[in-house]
Chain length 155, copies 2
DNA sequence: AAAATAAAAGACCTTTATATCTTATTGTAA
DNA sequence: TTACAATAAGATATAAAGGTCTTTTATTTT
């Protein structure tokens, strides 16, 4: 559905959103540890998002990534666009070069609604809106760290 | 959304369906030419589908791929399963190892409906059902060959 | 019946894209 | 001025996509 890069980018920005109280900064190391993303991969994706003004960054000690009030108005669709482009929203399900009603593939009309719905989810979800939901603790961004429990056992 | 392999496999089986009048056989060469699929890539995918009893094949002169009455009862979901597995129907949109309500990601509930709808389209579309639709000529499996028109111009 | 031929089946290789790691640089705060 | 953390470029590993060749099987033709 989404590329690994895009999954990582979305999880990362949601993690930053969750920890963006009064401009608190989150390090790439922190993000990579918590979300099981290879450190330098996370760093690269965060760079792209920072360059696209979707997130803000600060170098130096106590530096890291954070969200300004303006950043919080962005939607998850902005993140998908920045990393994967608009393919998931507009491409033909069978891979025809152009998806249109002038030359539709046999699944074209069945997938119009689905693609609109997918776009709607990402576009309607702004970081601002999702923030309280993330803080509620009912939703997760990683899997249970079973290897950690395993190590404790061995001690 | 789907892998290139899966797109090719779906287009191929739809092409065979369209040409499956009284057990007519279609060659891999024919399919690869008509649908712009690399020949040996198409051949490999058709092998997988034949092994999974989704399509039938016949070696030797006038041989090729065709569909029995039994083959025609298969749905497009069977093809997706055989090539890509069930990932598109069940995987977490953010790539969590397990997608479930016990530990849902922030987009879990938004994507439940979408994934069910995608599964429904593929499962509800049997080859038998789609056959007449394909014969109507209102739907296409390839793009217009613009390079051909270009060459005509240069002559 | 034997030989020639057509087409799928299958093993294996090359290329390309994606994902991950390495190393070095730049800016910031204490 | 020193340590910290983002930025940046580039190398390596892995997986997906695409291509070459050989083998097997069935059908013609002689
Ligand atoms: S042409 Fe295939 S989905 Fe639109
Ligand atoms: S847990 Fe992410 S979609 Fe279900």
């Amino acid at each position: 559905m989404l590329s690994k890069s895009c999954e990582y980018a979305l999880k990362s920005i949601l993690y930053i959103t969750k920890h963006s109280q009064n401009l608190e900064r989150v390090g790439a190391k922190n993000i990579s540890d918590e979300l099981d993303i290879p450190y330098h991969f996370a760093a690269k994706l965060l760079q792209i998002l920072a360059k696209a003004d979707i997130i803000s960054s600060q170098k130096g000690p106590n530096g890291g990534f954070y969200l300004t009030a303006d950043n919080l108005t962005h939607s998850l669709a902005d993140v998908v666009f920045a990393i994967d482009g608009n393919g998931i929203f507009v491409d033909c399900i069978l891979g025809l070069k152009t998806c249109s009603e002038t030359r539709p593939c046999p699944l074209h009309y069945e997938f119009i609604d689905i693609k609109i719905k997918i776009a709607k989810v990402f576009e309607d979800t702004t970081l601002d809106q999702i923030k309280s939901k993330l803080l509620s603790g009912e939703f997760y961004l990683n899997n249970l760290n079973v290897s950690c429990q395993y190590e404790r056992k061995n001690k």
